[in-house]
Amino acid sequence: MSIEMQEKAFRNVILPLKDKLFRVALRITLDRAEAEDVVQDTMIRLWNMRDEWSEIESIEALCTTICKNLAIDRSQKKEAQNVELTPERVENFETSSPHDRMVTHENFEIVQQLIRELPEKQRLVLQLRDIEGESYKEIANELGQTEEQVKINLFRARQRIKQRFADIENYGL
């Protein structure tokens, strides 16, 4: 493949994955700037592997795997500093009226918080299934788990969220 073709493939196939990768990284790092750096590093790695592209079964799965691993590396380094709870990220929700905006903002904040409370594996599976809309097979590929493990993680995540919703409904927790 000529360099022009590789560049075209990069623009058309890899670069459009940036938003999904960003959200995956964000679920792990919980920090926008960190997540952005992770996505950029992922893209650069993929470019450096350009001579092996033809042997790769799924570029998207590989991108997600690399992105996930880079994000985990970073967040482990950050863990010592305990930057887990930084709520300034959920700021630009746009709805019709200020009141709506406040309510939506508040509700989204709650969901965001519930997802954040989940263990990392469950959080990632939930993100890929419920927000990115991926099949169990795709998720299993990307996260290096079996489909069975993916289903178990998703089941636990959804049960946990259901339970937390019940708590909020019953006791206002």
Binding site: L15, T104, N107, Q112, I131, I161, F165
Partner: protein
Amino acid sequence: MDYKYIEQLLERYWLCETSLEEEQILRAFFAQSEIPANLMQYQSLFSYQMEQPKQEFLDEDFDQRVLEAIHVPVVKAQPLTLVSRFSGLMRAAAAVAVICLLSGAAQQLFSTSGNVASYKSAVGSADPQIAASQSATSNKQISRVAIADSVRASTTE
């Protein structure tokens, strides 16, 4: 309106028995404005699933940064001007010129100090009075010749 179907879907959603399509139906349902009270509490969960991709994304500046990072020429690159194209060459030429100038100046400096010394040895030792008298006698000789010439001219007339 009967919400049995949605309630069933929701139950199966918690148990991870729904397909991707069925989960999409749930999201579409909760995006409506009219939702029965008993289901209202889950609205934020499903609308969050729909909204998050619209809230969290990377802009075009990111593309630029990545493309620059992998050294792919960016589309809006500046055309090369004649000056910038030769700027490397110019710089090399300037360096050579500076070296030439410096060596020339150095040479000049050393050779002039040599000249001064030889000038001093030649002129400094000579007696100015001798020089003056020599020029005086030569002046007399010239005037003598001139007078002789004018005398000869007047006698032939």
